[in-house]
Amino acid sequence: MKRIILLMITALIVAASLALGGCSHVGVKVWEHDILAKPEMQLDAGANDRALDDHIYFSKEASSGGRGFAGGGCGCN
Amino acid sequence: MDSESQFGYVLNRRDDVWVAEYSAMAGPCEVHMATDRQSEADRLASLALSETRRIEQKFSRYRDDNIVHQINSSNGEPVAVDDETARLLEYAKQVHALSEGQFDITSGVLRRAWVFRGEVVVPDREFIDELLERVGWERVTWDGSSLTMAPGMEIDFGGIGKEYAVDKVAGMLFEQSGLSLMVNFGGDIRTIVAEGSARSWLVGIEDPSVVKGLSGSSAVGHAELTNGAIATSGDTNRFCIVDGKRLGHILNPKTGWPVAGAPRTVTVITSTCVEAGFLATMAVLSGAGAEAFLQAQGVKYHVIW
């Protein structure tokens, strides 16, 4: 199990590094945020629902945390 | 007049609008509000009244408890001013430059040498020359937040304050209500039409035969405004006669004399009352060239000679 987890984490980090490394085909121009600007594509959409969920899981399970700030959005200035 | 004494204004229903009337800024004030609800009209009327009184008290030169008095009695000391006063002074500075010195808020002292009651007068040239020593924005030190003036100089928001109050009250009421409305302080007018409303405001204009440039205005004697403003400079009743010539009450700050050959009144129609008031004053200051000036600006106007 631990090995699988480590493998997954490595994969995530590799993927993120690739994305961050400035590969020219990763990402979009500021005028191409039409879909990313939709409410349902906001990572913090439904914040109240997630807060309610997190409160339940926090009080019923031994784990907490994980979700953080959001990014993406309309890229507007 | 019970309601006047109680609230300071009178509220009446006229056609499909509520109209609040009160006295302020040395004349009658009217606020027309396109709403059916009297309670809303009442709320807005009291807001309008208090804002008008606030501006009047703050910028009147006849009081001894305001910023204008503080500046005028500063005796050469710098006076720090609040944001609103700073914006007005900044505006005064800019229009002074734009008018090449013809519009000057320090020119008020010159009025001491003149009486405009339709009488024949013999001006005291020496006194005028003396007063001119105390006039001129270029002698003022203004750094954007504090003002320093030589002793004896005075500022006067007379040519700005009322127009400013009209725009300010109209803007504030619209922000508060989103309603179409018209604010009229003794002929200085601002109209606002709510988004999506088909309303326009009909404003009566004196002597309609001379109204120029009112596009599509078949309704003779009226200007039809959506979002706009009207301001008048000059006063047909305030003049004096020197050497048989009629001189209006607008003084040229450079000569200390009323402008010769100027129209009796100039009315300008444009987007804000502040802008209209300044253009009208500039037209009067242009003397015989008033209409040429107004035509060059491309604004709608009305001149009485």
């Binding site: 590094s17 490394g21 121009k29 005028w31 507007c76 200035n77 | -």
Partner: protein, 167 residues
């Protein structure tokens, strides 16, 4: 515990990497209106005018907020030779049309759904607007739309109109 430490270290490394990624896309916007002119095939309609080229999209909230203000600018300064060219970068043409139906601005609209004009201007924010003087030369650019900047922006446009008034 060693495992956890190495995981955390990996993440820190990743974060610091990202700090050095430079914005590789930026380019200089065109100095003249030639590109806009050629899209519009305008036969010199923009000559001698002060032109605001505004890039916008219906999904961009600040763009939508800026419309009433630009509309009022166009209405107030139109007679003096001020023109707004609004370049729409919506991929979905219908969304743009839907928004324009409500707003109905007196602008010239360019539909740049492929982003070719946006690419030439090297946009870095939405909206971005470019102001050209009466001589057709780029005078300034503004990124984003901030309510409190409007009077400064307007003063600048008015100055351009006045200083370069037609001789």
């Amino acid at each position: 515990m060693i495992v956890s430490t190495s995981r955390a270290a990996g993440l820190v490394l990743l974060l610091s990497l990202s700090l050095f990624v430079s914005p590789a896309f930026s380019s200089d916007p065109p100095e003249t209106l030639a590109d806009v002119d050629s899209v519009l095939a305008s036969n010199g309609e923009l000559d001698g005018k002060v032109v605001l080229v505004d890039f916008w999209a219906s999904w961009c909230v600040p763009c939508r907020i800026s419309f009433p203000w630009m509309k009022s600018l166009a209405e107030r300064y139109g007679e003096q030779g001020f023109v707004v060219v609004a370049v729409n970068v919506d991929k979905d043409h219908n969304s743009a049309v839907e928004f324009l139906k409500q707003s109905d601005p007196p602008f010239t609209i360019i539909y740049d759904s492929t982003g070719s004009l946006a690419e030439k201007y090297g946009l870095e924010a939405m909206p971005t607007s470019f102001v050209y003087g009466r001589d057709g030369k780029l005078r300034s650019q503004h990124q984003g739309f901030h309510g409190e900047d409007t009077s400064k922006f307007e003063t600048q446009i008015a100055e351009l109109l006045r200083k370069e008034a037609k001789k």
